[in-house]
Subunit: 327 residues, 2 copies
């Protein structure tokens, strides 16, 4: 099976490539070829023994998608996006990459489909950013997308296109709405959501972290490992039972910041918790107030998607996957 | 006030122009200039005493929208679309007109907005075609759009763009999801929904009509007069209370075909009902099975939108507006 990952240089992309390289498989299926593309050249997949093609591309260039598809990948995982903050700051760039880039990709698949019946699996990484307040206590599978950011708008449009193109038979698509990924490895970043990871990752490494919101704030999380699992399942599962609604809210852990901190205390002790400094930030508080808090992702669970079931599990996965298993 | 109507040659467009021409007003506001555009040249607005500009345009041409906006209309009513059946048959044309054309319009407004703060009211005629089965008994204001046609997909994308552009302050937008318009005047057409009007309009005129579905089929209707009222209210109301969710399900009458027929009997007698010939059509039955049946359009009603409250009222309006008040 030939797998193409667009957005392979991002955090989730690198983890997905790592999982394929380690096992030679995507789920249960052997991977014989990998095409990795991103705006910056992705790293070579260490240890992968199949054919490899690595490309630095601009997906907002209408010619890119056709070139990417020359090898007729069996599975396309579309992770490429300008993130929320940048799409909000740079309106044109967000629409160019997140909407036009996605549509060029879908249309390039469509052209091949109409020419000779090519019909790959296409997995689109969407986001809970398609939702905007006000919310019910738990967002169910029939709640409307009403994004409050341009990024969320662009993802919601990508979902609609994916469903129409799938219904038409141009590809076999599935869009998965990822929870906020926690604990994100790496350095602190300036994303408004960064503190959800920072207040755990930094204390686990013996460093101070800033908490800009009250600890009553509730949000929806899954680990990077769970995200790789979601993408793998979406890429390989039988889509027959999914029907025409090809967009799924992914499972996750709903937790308040206080619950996150208690999980940290249970695993790393009071010493780690003492490294969290409370510095309320009205801007971040305002942004976070518009974010989803909890979901009832029944369809995804019925279809076999699995996330963590507690924040302690999320923290343990970080320790295993990012810290060599040791505090 | 300068009002621009794009799609002015269609049935609803002509009725809206007629209402403005008769009164010199849109709602309570005096109209001093009208710009009418469509793919075919709209008729001159008989009796309108203000400035008039009439244009045949191709909205899928990226240059069109900028030219249309040269006169800086205060209100833009965007009705132009390839209808459902044609958008399903001609994929490219549907996306070109219904998606690209809408985006070109929105972006042309945005350019002027960013240049000098231009911020017109923009009313977008969306449709209950954004919804796809399965449904709850009544579709409420938070039910997800899950279109089962390319037309519905294109309308749902237009709604998302309108909300993002409105949130950004590029224009002051409102999208209204029109019920199936009944009784459509004119000749029978081949739209799958055509029979809903046909089984009333034709017998009222002493002609036979074909009913291709069982009389248990339930659907959501409003008159052409109600549609003009929706557009007028959307174009002139205070949008302050609407917030960021700038898409509203319009009110209407939920009725079974049997209830439609009883209303016809009450107004025009058994003789009229006898002109309906039952000829089940499996294709039409299958299409109609995916359509919404009933709504709870609470937000729209709170915001002052009004439709008919019975099918008899819908029939009487047809007799008044299309038959000179006489059977």
């Amino acid at each position: 099976m030939h797998v193409q990952i667009i957005g392979a240089a991002g955090m989730i992309g690198r983890k997905l490539v790592g999982a394929i390289s380690r096992t030679g498989k995507l789920g249960e299926r052997a991977v014989t070829a990998l095409t990795l593309a991103d705006a910056i050249k992705p790293d070579a997949p260490a240890g992968f023994s199949g054919d490899v093609s690595i490309k630095a591309v601009d997906i907002a260039d209408p010619a890119t998608a056709g070139q990417l598809l020359a090898g007729r990948p069996d599975v396309i995982v579309h992770l490429a996006a300008i993130v929320s903050g940048e799409a909000e700051q740079d309106f044109d760039k967000g629409y160019r990459i997140n909407l036009d880039g996605t549509r060029y990709l879908f249309d390039a698949v469509r052209e091949l489909s109409q020419a000779d019946g090519y019909c790959p699996r296409l997995v689109f990484a969407s986001s809970i950013a398609v939702f905007g307040a006000p919310f019910p206590d738990k967002i169910d599978d029939t709640f409307l997308p009403a994004p409050l950011t341009s990024y969320g708008t662009q993802k919601a449009i990508g979902e609609l296109l994916l469903q129409d193109y799938s219904r038409r038979g141009f590809f076999d698509g599935l869009a998965i709405r990822l929870p906020t990924i926690c604990i994100r490895p790496g350095l602190p970043n300036k994303a408004a959501s960064g503190f959800f990871s920072g207040i755990l990752r930094e204390p686990l490494a013996g460093k101070q972290a800033v908490l800009p919101v009250p600890d009553t704030v509730r949000h929806w999380h899954a680990s990077p490992r769970a995200a790789v699992g979601f993408l793998t399942h979406a890429a390989t599962m039988d889509l027959g039972p999914v029907g025409h609604r090809r967009v799924l809210n992914m499972p996750g852990v709903s937790a308040t910041v206080a619950e996150q901190i208690e999980a940290l205390r249970n695993i790393a002790g009071d010493k780690a918790v003492a490294l969290i400094r409370r510095e309320p930030d009205p801007d971040i508080m305002r942004i976070v107030a518009g974010w989803p808090q909890d979901f009832a992702p029944e369809r995804a669970i019925e279809l076999g998607f699995r996330a963590e079931t507690s924040f302690e599990e999320i923290i343990r996965i970080h320790i295993e996957d990012e810290m060599g298993g040791r505090l």
